[in-house]
């Protein structure tokens, strides 16, 4: 290829100085990721499995000795497991936003980042789905959640928001998995055609579904992709709204609020985008992909973090304003206790990490400084975990009846180990994904390159 042709194929969206991207170099760079894993990958993977085993042992301990080992005592009977569930559903939220909504809006920066976000969504839902099972203490009865015909004519309570959750989360898992698998078809075909390992070839053959790149396949592929994007878009709003109704439908002070649905959706996108940045920064560094996932891409994501941070901050203030201005003294007291009582430390961490620290994203140098942005997004995720902890634990610890105002909840090692195990569970899937399937959309990034034209493009 002549130098002129190479220039023609240069990456249209790349603002940073970097190597010229061609269709071949893109294949080389992105398929190199799924070559034989190195020592660092194995070290991280083994560490991950060790943490997962500790989480598994904690769960075994809980099954043998009962749910009491989790430290749940009246009145705080929902604690870290429900906080974990909401946290992971929130993390799972961003993938569909990035892949579906930004696709419908033809936002081109998504092309370089959406596959990681989609994978995060699928693995996030798989992680979130563990917690309703663990929280029951008897996960082998999980099928009771589903309305199946049975001889005793027993049905779950369809008026319970917890039952709505079952449908919302399983629908979300189904659609996001299909969306993920549809998007990966052309890239799996590229990997299939390159690999020499027959096992990997078999896997890619299954994932690529007979893809050849023919014009009619492209037509049907984008027809299906558009359709799934349209289906997935309302799910972005509905899933976390339903999760918020787990709380908002109850009468508990601090939970019974109409603002919960938009507040939870914004919070979910906030934590999800922060997690995508946390995943992308090390990946682009480890695999030397700075010229493909550019600082511009990350900066645009960080603007999303800033936007959702302001929405979340506004929601916090609205909650307090409603409690102060409203007629309910119990609600007012609860919010006062939330900010100044026993768990004030958690409230302060939440407010600092979610509202104050992200304000630094107004400054461009912060948005473009990758190590700083990584730490900032990590703090956002810590803050968002504490947000769920604050909402759940403080409201339950300070209900209507003052005789139950007893702060006797503290996180047990079982809960801590299962929380750590959930992260290990998520990263186990993610580490395998990065080494097995193309983590960036080769086909869609190629579309940002100028097509080779002999004459002036029409």
């Amino acid at each position: 290829m002549s130098s002129d042709e190479a220039k023609k194929l240069s990456h249209a969206a790349t603002a940073d100085a970097g190597p010229v991207i061609t269709q071949k170099s893109l294949n080389d760079d992105l398929l190199r990721m799924i070559s034989r894993p190195g020592r660092l990958w194995w070290a991280i993977f083994i560490l991950d499995l060790v943490i997962l085993s500790i989480g598994g042992l904690a769960e075994r301990n809980q099954i043998v000795h009962g749910i009491g080992v989790a430290g749940h005592t009246r009145p705080v009977m929902w604690a870290s497991y429900v906080a974990n569930f909401v946290f992971w559903v929130g993390i799972a939220h961003c993938g569909t936003l990035v892949s579906a909504i930004l696709f419908l809006f033809r936002s081109h920066f998504r092309r370089a980042v959406y596959r990681v976000a989609e994978a995060m969504t699928v693995f996030g839902v798989l992680t979130a789905g563990l917690f309703p099972l663990l929280h029951t203490g008897r996960p082998w009865f999980a099928y009771w959640l589903f309305p199946y015909p049975n001889q005793r004519g027993l049905w779950p309570n369809f008026r319970s928001p917890l039952e709505w959750d079952v449908f919302a989360v399983t629908t979300y898992l189904t659609i996001s998995s299909i969306f993920f698998l549809v998007g990966i078809i052309p890239d799996a075909a590229a990997a299939r055609d390159r690999t020499n390992n027959r096992w990997l070839k078999l896997i890619y053959t299954v994932f690529s579904m007979g893809w050849t790149g023919a014009n009619n396949q492209w037509k049907n592929f984008y027809g299906a992709y558009l359709y799934f994007a349209a289906i997935a878009t309302p799910l972005v709003l509905s899933v976390h709204s339903v999760v918020s109704w787990d709380f908002a439908m109850s009468q508990v002070p601090g939970w019974h609020s109409t603002i919960f649905a938009p507040y939870f959706v914004a919070g979910a996108i906030f934590s999800g985008v922060a997690m995508v940045i946390n995943l992308l920064i090390p990946i682009r560094k480890a695999f030397k992909l700075e010229h493909i996932v550019t600082v511009d891409h990350i900066e645009k994501l960080s603007k999303l973090v800033l936007l959702t941070s302001t929405i979340v901050g506004y929601s916090y203030l609205c909650e307090f304003f409603s409690a102060w201005y409203g007629p309910n003294p119990i609600e007012r007291d609860m919010f006062w206790w939330r900010a100044t009582g026993h768990f004030a430390w958690a409230f302060r961490i939440m407010f600092t990490c979610n509202v104050i620290i992200p304000l630094s994203l107004w400054f461009k140098p912060v948005r473009r400084n990758m190590p700083l942005l990584f730490v900032l997004c990590l703090s956002v995720n810590v803050g968002m975990y504490f947000e769920r902890f604050v909402i759940i634990v403080t409201s339950l610890a300070h209900p209507f009846n003052p005789s139950t105002w007893d702060v006797n909840y503290r996180m047990s090692w079982t809960e801590g180990a299962i929380l750590a195990g959930s992260f290990a569970w998520f990263f186990m899937f993610f580490l395998i994904f990065v080494r097995l399937l193309p983590a960036f959309s080769i086909a869609e990034i190629k579309e940002t390159l100028a097509a080779p034209m002999r004459r002036k493009p029409s």
Binding site: Q23, A190, R198, W199, K201, L202, T205, T212, G213, A214, N215, N216, W218, K219, N220, Y222, G223, A224, L226, Y227, A443, K446, E447, A451, P452, M453, R454, R455, S458
Partner: protein, 87 residues
Amino acid sequence: MIGRLVDKLLQSPPPNYHGVMGVYYYVDDVTEAVKTLREHGHNGLSVFSPVPHHDIERALDQKSSLVRWASPAVSRCASMRGCRIRW
């Protein structure tokens, strides 16, 4: 034995192509060739490309995919069937 099974699964069907294949580097060369062939009455052409291109679609006179209509129709039928089972 499992290895042999994998090899068997990966075996492509015997090629059964009839016609002529051309390899082009430039998109406008492809579109020109497609237009010329269609003018001479050759239909049933397939263009294989690493990314889709609107010029290729126009040259082939491709209509929009039926998938986007078929999928809502099937899902509507399925939901109606589900409602009928329920009530």
